[in-house]
């Protein structure tokens, strides 16, 4: 490990100024649960660490019918929040299945996004809820949809002088159901073999107005299955339609084989899990008991 300087920024302006001056040589410390490992393994050797804990980026608040989440919000904080559980239940469910209590007490929402792991647990629900990110630099801020932000494993469109400060969750249409399913080798402390998150929002006539079918751990980034979303749009949910969409989602997956599972197994599980998730959505929307 190298020996970086360490500054706990007193204000967002100070943090932005340091990023402007030091660029990629400065790395942000949020929870630190990934950073420490990357520094120890010498994947990262920053000259300066900027700790954000003194800046108030840990707020969860309502915003224009949706929610605004600070980048420093910890996983445990999200999990404990009643409005998140009520309004964005798939995000709460992903938090519940995230690592174990000690990591949930340190790891942050922003860290899970910036880390840009294809297996990140929070990215599928965030994408299913159409989350966008507020990126700030000393010269201003811009907002970018999450699905455009992710570029590859560990790669994002964050500029060297920028910080992710807030995550925006828009208001979800009235007649919606979401489902998050994580397949891991065990119930806790597991990195996903496959993650699936689906959201179905119905129009007044009962047809699908909006569909999100998001897949994790089966491509270089978390992805939306364009084919199955297009197939769902405007249709009435049925067993046949769901089976069709599960197959299309599996076709959209381009997984690798690694220590956790083979490529073939992952593809097959995408089909199984998308079928289950959409079936749970259908059941919830028709007033039944969701059976994810």
């Amino acid at each position: 490990m190298n020996h970086p300087d360490y500054i706990a920024a007193e204000s967002i302006q100070q943090a932005l100024h340091l990023k402007q001056v030091h660029g990629e040589d400065a790395h942000v410390v949020a929870g630190g649960t990934d950073l420490i490992l990357r520094m120890r393994d010498e994947i990262l050797a920053p000259e300066l660490l900027i700790d954000l804990r003194k800046i108030s980026l840990d707020r969860i608040s309502k915003h224009e019918g949706g929610m605004q989440l600070g980048a420093y919000v910890q996983i445990a904080q999200l999990l404990a929040h009643p409005v998140i559980k009520e309004t964005y239940p798939a995000l709460a469910e992903a938090c519940r299945q995230f690592a174990g209590p000690p990591i949930r007490n340190r790891g942050t929402l922003g860290g899970n996004i910036i880390n840009a792991s294809p297996a990140a647990d929070l990215l599928p629900p965030l994408m299913a809820y159409d989350a966008s990110l507020v990126l700030e630099s000393i010269s201003g801020q811009r907002e970018m949809p999450l699905d455009q932000f992710l570029q590859g494993p560990g790669q994002t469109r964050l500029a060297p002088n920028e910080l992710l400060t807030r995550i925006m969750l828009p208001q979800i249409l009235a007649n919606s159901a979401t489902s998050f399913i994580k397949l891991g080798h065990r119930r806790s402390m597991a990195i996903a073999i496959v993650n699936v998150c689906t959201r179905i929002s119905l129009a007044k006539d009962g047809s699908v107005e909006q569909a999100r079918v998001v897949l994790g751990s089966v491509a270089p980034t978390v992805i939306r299955s364009q084919e199955s979303e297009a197939r769902l749009k405007g249709q009435l949910l049925s067993e046949d339609l769901i089976e069709d969409c599960a197959r299309l989602a599996a076709d959209d997956a381009t997984p690798i084989s690694d220590v956790r599972a083979s490529s073939e197994y992952r593809k097959r599980m995408v089909r199984v899990l998308v079928r289950r998730a959409l079936t749970a959505n259908q059941s919830e929307l028709s007033g039944g008991i969701a059976g994810a």
């Binding site: 360490y6 630190g32 209590p101 000690p102 007490n105 402390m189």
Partner: protein
């Protein structure tokens, strides 16, 4: 940097990126906290940081500057070395809840945290609380038994204290 450890203020002059785990063990001599995996997976290094359980191997000491830490040494009471074991510690030894003991301190800290807010935990509550603590020899059933026994003891002594006041 200044950290309150088990109620006592300690000044730390190590480099900022040294882990809290290694500061506790090497600089402060508190070797109850164990170095298992060094990567946040096993929970042998669990401590309380500002009232919440964390993996001390996943915290740089600079992140804990100004914070309050409770280690396994701070769970027992009655001076240093501690004279009075916490009910959890007694129950762990009575229920044979460990063999090699390497994971035990992490289990104790996680369960200590659980009992702060839940004086009658179910099996599921306990398994959720120790989801980040791996045992590779004894298993978890004897831990569940011990935590429920300790919780019962704490409830009884709390009820006794209330009766005395009444």
């Amino acid at each position: 940097m200044r950290i309150t450890v088990n109620g006592r203020q300690r000044d730390v002059s190590s480099e900022p990126v040294k882990t809290l785990l290694h500061v506790l063990r090497e600089d402060l001599g508190l070797t109850g906290t164990k170095d298992g995996c060094s990567s946040g997976d096993c929970g042998a290094c669990t401590v309380m940081l500002d009232g919440r359980v964390v993996n001390s191997c996943m915290v740089m000491v600079a992140q804990a500057d100004g914070a309050s830490v409770v280690t396994v040494e701070g769970i027992a009471t009655g001076g240093q070395p501690a004279e009075v074991l916490h009910p959890l510690q007694k129950a762990f030894s009575q229920c044979w809840s460990f063999q090699c003991g390497f994971c035990t301190q992490g289990m104790l800290v996680s369960c200590y945290d659980l009992l702060q807010t839940n004086d009658n935990p179910s099996r599921e509550d306990i398994l959720t609380a120790i989801a980040g603590n791996f045992c590779r020899c004894t298993g978890y059933q004897a831990v569940v038994t011990a935590v429920q026994q300790a919780a019962a003891e704490i409830r009884t002594s709390d009820a006794g204290a209330q009766n005395e006041r009444a």
